[in-house]
Amino acid sequence: MKLQILILIIVLLANIGSALGVVYSRHESRLLAVELSALESQQDEGLAEWSRLQIEQGWLADASQIEKKARGVLHMQQPDKTQILVIRP
């Protein structure tokens, strides 16, 4: 009889313990999910930034822009045939 009561108490305690465990892990998983979605949106943000930078770079490195600067601001010019000398293959 005594043994049975002891077992009952143990089982009850284990039950309460596992219930608390479930609550705790559930809470934990929700916290992690929040963190995950925050990180995901951070990733989206990063990708968006990357695409914007790509476009910006594409615009700034546009050949017509570079040519305008090279010829207009830096006064560069294309060497003609007589100015080119091949030194080594």
Partner: protein, 552 residues
């Protein structure tokens, strides 16, 4: 005391059982409706880049503003600051909303600048919402617009490769069911309903630097000669890859408008009667069928010949020419006399193997096949005109493909826009014949030829000029022309083939050798330098360099 406690317990348990067992479905449904949400997982459209990975089309998120008219109209005094941010008239917006007052969703303005949307969300207006959308940007603008095309406001490809590869680029958005907390954060993912497939990137064979160079030169030539339109195509001889393809007029793909005439990729969709640039194909057929060898003599005097009552004329009386000189001088009489010795079927067969009369098969939207009528319906006069490029029509891309056959030892490769395309070489003509024609074409840029202006310093160029009358409803127009030049180089080891077509130049000059050839020369000069292609006489250049110690 104990009784009261028991009574309370019983009531409590009874209620619990009632809620848990009897009304569970209803309550659970209501509860879920309050925190379960289906969320769309967006998929971004893939990036289109050139052969070196330079971006040519990139999607980036932007915000669009939509409103719930009923909610916003309750606070109509707040429309004013919103209108100011949108740069619109407050009365206009209010009128628009009143007209749609019974709707729940009205776009106010789509694809706004992020700085503007930040200010709008700071206003915290009732019934005004932001929706994330993707907008596509084309950094190279009008330079690449015909090849790439553009997408509409819903991010669906409308033209060019954006249309041809729409499903590859688009991917498909997914969705998932999540639990949200009070603050709207997703706290738990319940189920993934559909996985999101991100759009895949597309790497083209186009070289952005070459594309820009060709575009700049084409634009200035078209402007200088007051031409109606023009196209330039540069192909890699060995792989069939399209390195540059530009047209005039062009348009800005970032803001396409509705001028559909300038949206056509003429190099692929528009056909023209090529005129003299067709002669090398006829000569190839003549050589192939053993009618003549390059040194066979042809009498072209008195400079014209009558075929079925129609007179075929030369520019002047060239007298006795060999087959090579027929090409050098571009003699219509000479090529007519040679071609008429062929059976129509033989000639048609050669043209067909060069890819005329059939679409190149690139899958480019709106690609034209050109016209090459079946040889059974050829009359004698028609066979003659087809030999010098009338009564047959082709796209600039088809011409590039055909000249690449001559440059590539007789092997035809289907032009490719996408890296890694499967276009195995097909043997079109004997390599001996191809090399013979190539050698003959080199004389065109020689001192006696019609294409001296197509020369490229330090490189040997083979090619052919063309000047054809434009066909109109009432026959061939007297003073309207298409000027063209098709050629390749370096002649000792051909790497690039380039087609230039200038449609309807209105100035005093209209000959292909005067209008198209200089443009060809400028594009090829730049292309040889950009792609680091060694000159034909490279060893000789090195030797002469060694003779000038301390040279400049």
């Amino acid at each position: 005391m104990l009784l009261i406690f028991l009574l309370c317990s019983v009531v409590l348990i009874a209620r619990a059982v009632n809620l848990q067992v009897m009304e569970t479905d209803f309550l659970q449904g209501q509860g879920e409706a309050r925190f379960l949400r289906e969320v769309i997982i967006p998929s971004t459209r893939g990036v289109i880049s050139d052969r070196n990975g330079e971006p040519l089309a990139v999607s980036t998120p932007v915000d669009s503003v939509w409103v719930h008219p009923g909610q916003l109209l309750e606070y109509s005094d707040k429309i004013k600051p919103l209108a100011r941010l949108l740069g619109a008239d407050a009365d206009d917006i209010e009128r628009k909303l009143r007209r749609r007052a019974n709707k729940e969703f009205v776009w106010l303005k789509r694809r706004l600048n992020p700085s503007v949307t930040a200010q709008i969300s700071a206003l915290d207006l009732p019934g005004v919402y932001l929706q994330k959308e993707y907008r596509r940007f084309y950094p190279a603008g009008e330079v690449t617009s015909h090849v790439i095309g553009f997408t509409n406001i819903d991010d669906v490809g409308q033209e060019g490769l954006e249309l041809a590869y729409d499903s590859w680029l688009a991917g498909s958005p997914g969705s998932k069911r999540v639990i949200r907390n009070r603050k709207g954060e997703a706290v738990e993912e319940v189920a993934l309903i559909k996985e999101s497939q991100p759009g895949q990137d597309l790497r083209l064979t186009i070289d952005r630097r070459l594309q820009y160079l060709a575009y700049r030169e084409l634009k200035s030539t078209v402007l200088q000669h007051g031409a109606r339109s023009g196209s330039v195509v540069v192909l890699d001889v060995n792989t069939g890859e399209v390195l540059a393809m530009v047209n005039q007029p062009s348009y800005n793909p970032n803001d396409p408008g509705h001028d559909t005439d300038s949206m056509r990729n003429r190099a692929v969709t528009d056909v023209f009667e090529p005129g003299s640039v067709m002669k090398p194909i006829a000569i190839a057929s003549v050589l192939e069928n053993g009618i003549a060898v390059p040194t066979t003599l042809v009498e072209t005097s008195p400079g014209y010949i009558v075929i079925s009552g129609h007179t075929v004329r030369d520019h002047s009386n060239y007298g006795l020419l060999d087959v090579t000189a027929v090409l050098t001088k571009s003699s219509n009489v000479g090529v007519t006399k040679l071609a008429l010795q062929l059976q129509p079927e033989q000639m048609w067969d050669t043209y067909n193997r060069f890819g005329f009369g059939e679409a190149t098969g690139t899958g480019f939207p709106g690609e034209s096949a050109g016209v090459l009528r079946n040889h059974r319906r050829w009359r004698r006069l028609e066979q003659a005109t087809i030999a010098y490029g009338y009564g047959v029509s082709a796209t600039p891309l088809q011409l590039a493909q055909a000249y690449a056959v001559i440059a590539n030892g007789g092997k035809l490769r289907q032009p490719a826009f996408i890296q890694g395309s499967n276009n195995p070489p097909i043997s079109a003509i004997d390599s001996r014949i191809a090399n013979m024609v190539a050698t003959m074409l080199e004389t065109v840029t020689g001192d006696a030829g019609t294409g001296t202006r197509a020369r490229v310093p330090n490189y040997r160029i083979a090619g052919k000029t063309g000047t054809s009358h434009k066909a109109s409803a009432s026959g061939y127009a007297d003073s309207r022309y298409v000027s063209s030049f098709v050629g390749f180089g370096p002649a000792s080891n051909p790497r690039l083939v380039c087609v230039v077509v200038i449609n309807d130049p209105t100035g005093d000059e209209y000959y292909g050798g005067l209008v198209a050839a200089p443009l060809f020369s400028r594009v090829m000069t730049g292309a040889m330098r950009l792609l680091n292609i060694p000159p034909d006489n490279y060893p000789a250049m090195l030797a002469s360099a060694a003779d000038v110690p301390g040279g400049q």
